[in-house]
Amino acid sequence: MSTEHLHAGESASLINDPNATETPWRLPSQRKAGIACLIVTESTLFTIFVVAYLFYMGRSLNPPYPAQVLEFPWLGSIALFSSSATIMLAEIMLRKVNRFGFLIWWGLTIALGAYFIYFTATEWMHLIYGKNLTIGSNVFGSTFYALVGLHLSHVFIGLLLLSTVWLLTFFGKIPKDHHEHIEVVSWYWHFVDAIWLVVVTVVYIISVNY
């Protein structure tokens, strides 16, 4: 059979079955699928750094060792973990189209994230100048700063995203059809939190025995 009639203008319905029943055709959301893939790929990146940290645990040839210098980061962790709750509250406000409530909770999330960065900065100041632990001190220093720093860089990027959303909302209005955009940002933020759970367990709970 000739295919001449198949030109762009007419390639419309390839099936002409009169008995076909209309079933709804649903596909996953592009944004959610995209951010899910990003989270998978970032997770493998973190896995490698976590494995490197675990592999080098107890293999430093010279002090400082984790047991001597690490203190559990209570305040930073509490701030970061609670920011996952505030961002959820912000989303609830968004669904209610409560602009003021959204700005408050979203802003609080930013503040908590910023506090986490400040907390880690002071911790690193203390480690570098007080305890003489640098990235070149020993393999503990290398893996510690690489892993915690990688996470910190993700917090920083998350903060940039959060601040962009906050500023756009502050100067504009909550775009009703943009709910999914904001949900995607919050997925990323939850991911950054979840990673901190792993990092805290590995670095501040397991490795302080060495």
């Binding site: 295919t3 790929t41 493998t44 990146l45 750094f49």
Partner: protein, 564 residues
């Protein structure tokens, strides 16, 4: 969306500014730089991949000339080291990856009945990041010596084992160019892979369930998942290497408790899935070409999907078979021997299914099928030597010998490159509206096939006789002379073959026979639109009810969907 009517006769108004007329040089450059069209980007990927292919092929030719006779004097040893490093890195990251992404970009939306990729701008970003990462790598020839007057291009081998990359052993900036180029290229690859996954999952036209997707798209979905899982380990170890070289970190510094073996693990955790990222697209193209040219639907579609997914999973667990000679525990050795052997099972299933498709079919020996049959034979040889090498004691004898070189060139040339040629002969009419010349194509096939086997066949034997890879020369009387000479002669036969191919690409673009929309009488959606397809691909988004939508349309009295 499906109700949108686009007038096919619509023409964009001509621009008013000088230099922006259609066809002028500035306009062409502007279109290439600004484009977010998946078809243009796909062709740009394939085009730049072929460009780098020629460069890396010339490097290989220079190395073969050096090795043609014992005590060769063509190249200096340090130049030779740079050449094999750049050849390997280029072929994997700047030829293999972009060409497969090119195919995925061009064909995925057309095959699933979509108008573009899910994230067109991310797509353009991925391409340009890849493109400039290539320039970054080659810029090392100019800039790497730095103020130290140290070596120019990277010379640490494509897997850059530590401690060769330590500051003390790799002075200057050559290794840094290599590291940064791969880091950058990795970002582009991950971006493109995410795009492929999301496009496949979220943009399928009505009725295109996962069970009806063309196998091409299925295989690329798995390959893209492998990319997003396998590339980050590479990026991670590149980051660690930069920390080591510039911040004094101790990751791979054995004197400070670091581990050189860890680099090998991290690199091959990336490196082995990468091999499957490169060969799976070869399978994908074969999945389309074998049925169309055997005039039969694919034999065992669900099994093919299952085998592809199995390969995807198992390929993540086999990396340390590259490291048998490192001295792992016997449990480690056993695990990686067994997993490597197991991965041959789904691969074998695929080969049997292709044969099952061909069996009893009305086979047409057109050029795509010719290359495809070459692929089947050559990939079988590659697979068999692969299973041989998976046996640890055998590997202890032949690791890092020319046997390994022959093995992976049979995989990547005999497997991937043959399917890339096959795919180009198959889809060129779709992309440019003209058929590739058959006579030139036959010259290409026979010269290249004879040259290829003459080059890499004897290398198996040279490897058995103990010739290590990466040596820049060898003494007389070790029994390697003849095999090396044959190998070099083979290269000199391959070159005219490639020349015929390039001439064919250009000649047929101008003078080729008009192709029409569906020159091969094929069954997937890309053949239902014009050749070349309009920018929006389909005026009205199609709707499918079976795995062969075009068959249904051409044979309304006997549609496939009645049997699915």
């Amino acid at each position: 969306m499906s109700d949108t009517i686009i007038d096919p006769n619509f023409k964009a108004p001509e621009p008013e500014r000088v230099g922006e007329e259609r066809g002028s040089l500035t306009r062409i450059v502007q279109e290439l730089v600004f484009t977010v069209d998946h078809k243009k980007l796909g062709l740009m990927y394939i085009g730049s991949g072929l460009m780098f292919f020629v460069v890396a092929g010339l490097m290989a030719t220079m190395m073969r000339l050096q090795l043609a006779f014992p005590n060769g004097k063509v190249l200096d040893p340090d130049v030779f080291n740079r050449l094999f490093t750049m050849h390997g890195t280029t072929m994997v990251f700047l030829v293999g990856m972009p060409i497969i992404f090119g195919f995925a970009n061009y064909l995925t939306p057309l095959m699933i009945g979509a108008r573009d990729m899910a994230f067109p701008r991310l797509n353009a970003f991925g391409f340009w990041v890849f493109f400039f990462s290539g320039f970054l790598l080659y810029f090392s020839y100019l800039a790497a010596p730095g103020l130290y007057a140290a070596g120019s291009a990277p010379d640490v081998g494509w897997f850059a084992y530590s401690p060769l990359t330590a500051k003390a052993f790799s002075r200057g900036h050559s290794t840094d160019y290599w590291t940064l180029s791969l880091l950058m290229g990795g970002i582009g690859s991950v971006a493109t892979a995410i795009n492929i996954i999301v496009t496949t999952l979220c943009l399928r036209c009505k009725g295109m369930t996962l069970g009806r997707m063309p196998l091409f798209v299925w295989v690329f979905l798995v390959a893209a998942f492998l990319v997003i899982i396998a590339i980050p380990p590479l990026s991670a170890c590149q980051i660690m290497l930069i920390f080591d070289r510039y911040l004094g970190a101790k990751f791979f510094d054995t004197q400070a408790g670091g581990s050189a073996v860890l680099w090998q693990h991290f690199f091959w955790i990336f490196g082995h899935p990468e091999v499957y990222i490169l060969i799976l697209p070869g399978f994908a193209i074969a999945n389309e070409i074998v049925p169309v040219f055997s005039r039969k639907p694919m034999f065992g579609y669900p099994i093919m999907v299952a085998a592809t997914v199995m390969i995807g999973f198992i390929s993540l667990t086999v990396w340390a078979h590259h490291m048998f000679t490192v001295g792992m525990t016997s449990i480690g050795n056993t695990f990686f021997v067994v997993s490597t052997m197991i991965i041959a099972v789904p691969t074998g299933i695929k080969i049997f299914n292709w044969l099952g498709t061909m069996y009893g079919g009305k086979i047409r020996f057109d050029l795509p099928m010719l290359f495809c049959i070459g692929f089947l034979f050559q990939f079988l040889i590659a697979g068999l030597t692969g299973v041989m090498l998976s046996v640890a004691p055998f590997d202890w004898q032949l690791s890092d010998s020319y046997f390994v070189v022959a093995h992976f060139h049979y995989v990547l040339i005999g497997g991937l490159l043959y399917m890339v040629f096959s795919g180009i002969y198959y889809w060129y009419p779709k992309a440019f509206g003209r058929m590739l010349n058959v006579k030139l194509g036959h010259w290409h096939f026979w010269l290249f096939t004879i040259g290829f086997h003459l080059t890499f066949g004897p290398q198996h034997i040279a490897g058995f006789m103990g010739m290590p890879r990466r040596v820049f020369t060898y003494e007389e009387g070790r029994g390697w002379d003849l095999w090396n000479l044959l190998s070099t002669i083979g290269v000199l036969i391959q070159i005219p073959g490639i020349l015929f191919f390039v001439i064919n690409l250009i000649y047929s673009y101008i003078k080729g026979k008009k192709a029409g929309d569906d020159p091969w009488d094929a069954w997937t959606l890309e053949w239902s639109t014009t050749s070349p397809p309009p920018e929006y691909n389909f005026a009205k988004l199609p709707e499918v009810k079976s795995r062969r939508p075009l068959w249904d349309l051409k044979h309304p009295e006997d549609p496939d969907w009645k049997f699915e």
